[in-house]
Subunit: 323 residues, 2 copies
Amino acid sequence: MKNVALGIDIGGTNTKFGFVDREGNMYAETSVSTVKTAPGDVDAYLKYVYEEVEKLRETVNEELNIVGCGIGAPNGNYFTGTIEYAPNLTFQGVVPIIELFQKYYDVPMVLTNDANAAAIGEMIYGGAKGMKNFIMITLGTGLGSGFVVNGDLIYGHDGFAGEMGHIMNNPKGRTCGLGRKGCLEAYVSATGIKRTVFKLLADMTEETPLRDITFNDLTAAKITELAMQGDPVADAAFDYTAELLGRKLSDMVAIFSPQAIFLLGGLAKAGDFLFKPTKKYMEEHMFEIFKNKVSILPSALEDRNAAVSGSSALAWKEIDSPR
Amino acid sequence: MKNVALGIDIGGTNTKFGFVDREGNMYAETSVSTVKTAPGDVDAYLKYVYEEVEKLRETVNEELNIVGCGIGAPNGNYFTGTIEYAPNLTFQGVVPIIELFQKYYDVPMVLTNDANAAAIGEMIYGGAKGMKNFIMITLGTGLGSGFVVNGDLIYGHDGFAGEMGHIMNNPKGRTCGLGRKGCLEAYVSATGIKRTVFKLLADMTEETPLRDITFNDLTAAKITELAMQGDPVADAAFDYTAELLGRKLSDMVAIFSPQAIFLLGGLAKAGDFLFKPTKKYMEEHMFEIFKNKVSILPSALEDRNAAVSGSSALAWKEIDSPR
């Protein structure tokens, strides 16, 4: 019998889950619809998830003993175990997800948001093993972040700390996904770089295949592919994104003095096209005493299951050092 | 016999010190010249400080038992006990101040910078008693900051974390005291608001007594005094300063989700002229889930001896919970 943690990542469209042992080995994982059950009916949703988890457990040859459960969800509150007013979930108001799901699994159960979960995943299984001070940044649809200080994640006074995506880049700038003005994630994310490409198509005159792609068809992967081919607009878009990210990272270093900063998610797959200029701009803006001390590293969590790995790591962290 | 901590604040010009008990009562304090001994001769300096401490101890009627010592100094490294390349001290390079001073007092001894010391002072004696997550900001010649998370100060990987004064306000903006461009402290500090007044004297046409004061004669206290009288330029200077501070505080709240933010130092003495608009702008820029949750409070450390109180608190924190 193998002890595993159940990792669950709740997204607006899909709920991903899997079984992960203390060393980070994934025994099985799958994805089910978050919106299959009646909208807002969290009891029906959790019953459905439970049934699907048990179905998945039956597919594994080895007998799995679920010793803990970690859940990553938007606006997941670590302290209260509640999902609170998540804008992209159908669950309304404050949902006591841990209390409700513990009816199915009476084991240590932890909730936080997905970027915080990824940070713990990096610490438990990934490139941050043994690090006491580091920053995790997820660059997907938005910009998520998790800050680890003295070996613990910053949850803050109310459990919602770590929203670097909503620090201000330009108070008169782009509207973000939540209707605010000028948030960093409207610039630095897979969506942000798309928006930058369209700004640059307006500003620049160079010919590029990007002039034949609609906004809705464009992806961060396509921009990376064109940057590899030396496309001037794609190149400029990475430079613009990296300058904004690099500057804000130098601010974060001045506050946190971390050992490393990890990047994860769709945009981070661009590799050197993102990492090299970001490092350059970060060092350029860096306060003297921190220069050349901080690495920017790709997350060692496999992208495919980073969300599930991260969530499961929450449970192992809680088992290792209960709060 | 009373157990006290010796608190020492090392500044470029003066070294202040005093004896403080666990409850924050100050038994005696004084200030001596940091530059009386030969420049750079740290042994001579520490011998001089020791002799002056003992002289001060003799002035107290009660017998004082020094059970710990906390030292606040620019670029003071908590982990190594060394002052490293402090730009405004005559000590060159890396100075092992704790090791050297423990020859005189063989007690728990802690070093950090003055803003971090103030944060610990607020937690041990002041308005942050019982708080686990708060931010301390000192607004004097520069902008210093200390961040407390889960009840501990953030020292970071290298011991130098907490330099909010050097996050970027405007990369093409004002030169700061260390020769960098656009640092927040070039705008938000007692010096920063003076610079803003002079910018506004150029931008505005209103008559004001400020047009008869030289840059070198102007003080934050004078600007406050004029703001109280409704001076339009002084008012505008507070508004400008508060907007920049409020915005950056909303960024810090998005990262830390603190219970409160404390302001200390020369500029903080302006009271409502600074606190009210800062709170207004902070809330205006605040990410939705943090709105109206975070107080901005005046430090409860008395200004006169905040530096010495803070330094002594370092020792009590170390005695309470040794690292």
